[in-house]
Structure formats: C-alpha cells, structure tokens
C-alpha cells in the first residue's frame, strides 16, 4: 500500500551496505545505513574522508546499486528498476551538483544546461528558453554562449546548478558543491539553494566539509566508518542568507 505523495519520504534507505572489491580484498564503504529524509528538507552530510558519505550519495542518486539493503526514492524501490528505469528516474527526479562541476568542456553554458532536457526529448526552442531562464536565475544569462574554460570557478558552479535545476527535480544531491569556490561564491550558492528549497520545496542533500554550509541546513547527518554517527536538527539560520 503506497502512502500519499505528500507523506512519502523523499529518500528512504533501509539498512544499505556497499562493499567495494579490489582484487581479492573487500572494502566496506557503507555498513548498514537506515535513514529517512522528508520532502522539502535541506540536509547536510558531514564526516571525515572515507566515512562513506560520497558512496551514500551515489546510492541514493541511483548511480550505483547497494550491495544489500533497499533505497527508496519518493516511494520507488530502486531494486525494481532496470538500467533504463534508473536513468529515467535520475533524469526526472534527481539533480546532481559536483565539487568539480562536471560540465562538458566542449559545450557552452547554455548547451550544458540543455543536456538533461535533450535526454527527455524537449524540443529545441522550448529547452533553449527554459535553459536561458535558468541561467538568468543564477545570474549568468550574459555567459550563455561561453564555454566552461572561459568562466570562473564560481560561474561554472552556477552553470552546474542551473543544469541540475532546469528539470525541476524533486531532489538535488550535492557532493561538496562549494568545495572548489571562494567564500563569496559559497554564500551566493548557498543563499540560492535556500531560496529554491523554500520557494519550490526541493529537497537538498549536501555532502560537505564546510561547517558554514552544514550550519545553514535543517539537519546535519554525521558519517563515520560507513555508519551514521549522529544526527542533529538545527534551527535554520535564515539570517545567513542576509549576511
């Protein structure tokens, strides 16, 4: 029996583990993580390197299957989807923002933003105007025809955010989204994320090392050695967006 949409968690994991095998040696990256993240939450995942937070993000991003356990995205058990189903789920529901931006270097800003829309067959005219709107929302409309190499790190990250949001995903996963940008850009990016989270109700899960980033989220989940060490609910510091 399926729960009504509004009460279904955005992300739910049930005792997920992930073991990487290199040669004959197994490296357990996740050792049993059970978690529920409600719709509209703004969550940060922190922890030392190798604690399993990036692995966790890949599993809930439907990029990698867990070794055991279940990942449920908006009521959909990923185990039940084949390759195509997983691709479709990523395209329709999930946006990714990476530390290294992961823009396609040979394409212009607007072409990068268009890419997820091309996959779902949006006509060129429609996707161009949607992408341009998205670029102006992150303040980069004048840079639409520039390639990543002609942009600063902060600008590239904003293009990547535009690409993640242009499909209006329900869930956005950020792997150190502010790891490669200066503090001024960090502030800009974060305030934009907070704004989207508030106005559109988009769920954000951000893996971060930066305590400033963690401090402005609703919940901080700390990973250690492949397990959740602690969870902390915060009063969001809305004043942050004004600073």
């Amino acid at each position: 029996m399926e729960l009504p949409s509004s009460t279904r968690p955005a992300v739910q994991t049930i005792d997920i583990t992930k073991v990487y095998r290199v040669g004959h040696i197994d490296y357990p990256a996740l050792k049993g993580v059970t978690l529920k993240i409600a719709k509209g939450e703004l969550v940060s995942v922190v922890g030392p390197s190798g604690s399993g937070k990036s692995t966790f993000l890949n599993l809930i991003g439907a990029l990698d299957p867990p070794t055991s356990g279940r990942v449920i995205i908006d009521g959909i058990d990923l185990k039940k989807l084949n390759e195509d189903g997983l691709a479709l789920l990523r395209n329709l529901r999930i946006g990714f923002v990476y530390q290294s931006f992961n823009l396609i270097q040979r394409l212009t800003s607007i072409e990068n933003v268009e890419m997820p829309l091309i996959a779902r067959g949006v006509p060129e005219k429609v996707r161009k105007s949607r992408s341009l709107k998205m670029l102006s929302a992150v303040g980069l409309a004048p840079e639409a025809d520039k390639r990543p190499t002609e942009l600063s790190g902060g600008e590239q990250q904003r293009v990547a955010i535009a690409r993640a949001l242009v499909t209006r995903p329900a869930l956005v996963l950020g792997d150190e989204p502010t790891g490669n940008v200066d503090s001024k850009t960090t502030h800009e990016v974060l305030s934009y994320i907070v704004q989207v989270n508030k106005t559109l109700g988009t769920t954000f899960i951000l893996v971060t090392h930066n305590p400033d980033v963690a401090n402005m989220t609703n919940r901080v989940i700390t990973f250690k050695d492949g397990l959740i060490e602690k969870e902390q609910y915060l009063q969001r510091m809305d004043s942050y967006t004004r600073s």
Binding site: D64, E83, L88, N91, I104, I118, A119, G121
Partner: protein, 421 residues
C-alpha cells in the same frame, strides 16, 4: 531523445575534433573512391571492347605477317609476305566465305591548316560495309576502284575537333606516310564516312581509305599488310584459325576478334580483382581506423559519459550518440568517396588508354606503337547500383566499426566514469 538531436550532438562532436574526424573520414573516402573508380572503369573498358567487337563481328579473323608484330625482330631479313596467292589459298579453306586483303600504314593527313595523325588503308572499298557493320557515308560516295587519286575519309579527318578548317567533297588532301621519305601523296576526297568509332585497334574515324589498286601502285608493293577473313558462321572461326595456323605455321599471325575480347576481358577482370582488393583492404583499414578513433574518443570522453549517465541518459541513448558519430563519418566518407571516385575513374580512363595505343596489323615495323588519333579511350560506366553501393557500403562499414566502442561507452559504470581524470 530526438533523432535530430542525436545527430546534431554527433555532428558537434565530430566538428570539435576537426583534424581527427577529417583523417578518419579521409580513410573511408579513399576506400570508397578506389572501389567505385575501379568498377566503373573496368566495366567501361569491357563495354567499350564489346561494342567494338559487335562492329567487327564475331566471324572475322585477321591474318598478318608474323614479322610485323615483332617489330622486325627477324634478322635473317626475309619474313613471309602475304600476296594474292595467299588470298586464293585461304579462300579455299572450309568455312571461309570471303578474304579481303588490305594495305595499311600510319600516315599524317594534312589539308588547310590541319595535320592529323591517322592511318591510310588500301582496300576494296565496296567490302568496307562487310568489314565494318553499319558503316555509312556522311556525304559523297565510294571512290571508283581504278581512280588512283580518289579517297574516302573518316569523320574526324573531315571534321577535326578544335579546328575551324573542315574538309569538303572534292577537296585535296595531302598524305605523308609514316616511316617513308618518299614525300607526300595527294588525293581527292570523294566521300566522308559518318562517325563510327573504334574497331579494336583501328580508329575508323581517323582513317583515309583508298582503293586496293591505288594503294598497290602508290605504295609500290604487291604484298598486303593483312587479310580480313570472313567465315560463314561465328562457329567456324576457331576451325578456320586452326587451318590457317597449321598451313602457315609461325609465318603468319592470326587474330580472332572473339579471342582478343576474351584476352582483354581477362586482363580487365584480373585488374579489377587486384585493384578492387586494394580498395577493399583500404576500406578495411579505414574501418580499423574508425574503431580506433572511436575507442580513443570513448576513453577521452569517459567523464562526459559519466555526466550523461548522471543526467539520466539511457545506455541506448549513449550508444546511439557514439554510433551516429561513426555513421556520420561513414556518410561523409561515402559521399566524398563517391565524388572522388567519379573523378578518379576518368583520370584512370585516361591513363589506361595508353595500353590501347597500338594498332591492328600492318604498317612498317617499329611504327606500330605511337598512336595519337587512335588510342583506346573508354567512358567509365556508373550504374545506379554501383553509385548506391559506393554510398552505402562505407556507411555500413562505419556503423559496424563503431558498434563495439559505442557499446562499451554505453556500458560504462557511472560512478567510475565520473571519477575518471
């Protein structure tokens, strides 16, 4: 994902690597061009030979003194000469319907400002229509047998290309015989033949015909350059050839139109197989080139593939994107190769004509090879099937070559690909 978008992205990807794409495509083009040019040329060559044979007929043999074919190699001096006696001898053979003796010599024909390299043939002019099927007069008539100054000329002698000077009936032409220092002979043009073309190694259009008697007197010889032997049926050709050969031994050389065709055709087909396999090999090399380029491209774009996966591209879409890059290379290579092959086949036609630059029996030794007006040219034959083949085959090859790399791209693990540096 729309097909048009797939091809747009593929086109962009090829354009972003201009030099590499160009080199890959060049490989396909060369393979396709070679195959097209060779098949078109060799079918043009055999079509040309066949049309010449249909003019002369399959029931014709040519008999000439053996010496003339070996460039005066016999140092003992006296080689066999064909005379009226031989005409009677051969006429008596079983299956022979007619023997037509002729004189033939290379000649330079001049009138007005024109000077044309051609041939002078002395023959019973009334027999010309038996020798050459459907040869007809353009104007005038056949010269009287006993008029030593009368001649009938081929079309391109009267109307040479690229010259405003043209020949009219009853006009004088002056002929200088090749290899003789006896000065020039003068003839009155009594008739002009319509355009006819080549018959084996003779270009009828560049020939001046005079009567046998005139030739005998003017060339001061009673020996013929050769004999045309007509048999009753095409089936008699082989037996008559054997009869003549057993009678004369190696003194004469007998040529049979059918066997000439088959030898030309066997040369042509061997050449086609040989050069065609070069074409096939070069297409195969091109295919390996595509596979290699694609693998490099897939490797280089590992990260891009990871990004596409994260953005929700299905494996089949990613495969389609890479495969359409290969397909586009094939399309451009096929079209370019077909155009290149078209041009190449005409160049090939020109260079192959050198092989055909010798004449049929007659003329003094050593004179036989330098031809100008009478070289064998042919027009390449392009059938719709051939064009379709040279367009589509490279595309098929390119798709096959791109299949495995594209499949590899589509199967890549997203997480690993995203971490690829």
């Amino acid at each position: 994902m729309r097909t048009s978008d797939i091809f747009k992205l593929a086109f962009k990807a090829l354009r972003d690597r201009k030099l590499r794409s160009f080199l890959t495509i060049l490989g396909i083009m060369i393979g396709s061009a070679i195959i097209l040019a060779l098949i078109a040329s060799s079918s043009g060559l055999s079509a040309g030979v066949q049309s010449q044979v249909s003019k002369i007929g399959a029931n014709t043999l040519t008999v000439s003194s053996a010496r003339q074919f070996f460039g005066g190699g016999s140092s003992s001096g006296q080689s066999y000469q064909l005379s009226q006696q031989d005409v009677s001898t051969i006429e008596a053979f079983q299956g022979v319907s007619d023997v037509i003796p002729y004189y033939s010599q290379r000649a330079t024909i001049s009138y007005g400002s024109n000077s044309i390299e051609g041939e002078l043939i002395g023959v019973d002019t009334s027999a010309l229509s038996t020798m050459y099927k459907e040869l007809s007069l353009y104007s005038g008539g056949l010269p009287d047998s006993y008029d030593p100054s009368a001649a009938v000329v081929g079309y391109s002698i009267a109307f040479p290309t690229g010259s405003s000077d043209q020949l009219a009936l009853n006009q004088m032409i002056s002929i200088t015989l090749g290899g003789s220092s006896s000065g020039s002979l003068t003839f009155l043009v009594k008739g002009i033949f319509s355009e006819y073309g080549r018959v084996l190694f003779s270009d009828i259009d560049a020939t001046v015909f005079i009567s046998l008697q005139s030739a005998q007197i003017l060339l001061k010889t009673q020996y013929f350059s050769g004999l045309y032997v007509m048999t009753n049926t095409a089936g008699d050709v082989t037996t008559v050839q054997q009869e003549i050969e057993s009678y004369y031994g190696t003194e004469v050389r007998v040529m049979n139109a059918g066997s000439m065709v088959s030898s030309v055709e066997s040369i042509t087909s061997q050449m086609t197989v040989f050069l065609g396999s070069i074409g096939a090999v070069s297409l195969f090399v091109a295919a390996v080139g595509i596979t290699n380029t694609m693998f490099v491209s897939v490797m280089e774009r590992t990260r891009e593939i990871g990004i596409l996966k994260a953005l929700g591209y299905k494996p089949r879409q990613i495969m389609g994107m890479f495969l359409s890059e290969a397909t586009l290379s094939g399309v451009v290579g096929g079209v370019g190769g077909t155009i290149l092959g078209y041009v190449l086949s005409f160049i090939l036609g020109g260079s192959l004509s050198m092989f055909g630059g010798f004449r049929m029996g007659g003329g003094p030794p050593g004179q036989a090879s330098s031809a100008s007006a009478s070289s064998t040219t042919f027009t390449p034959v392009f059938t719709p099937e051939l064009i379709a083949f040279s367009l589509l085959f490279p595309i098929g090859i390119a798709v096959l070559a791109g299949l495995y790399p594209a499949w590899r791209a589509s199967r890549m693990n997203a997480v690993v690909a995203l971490k690829y540096e």
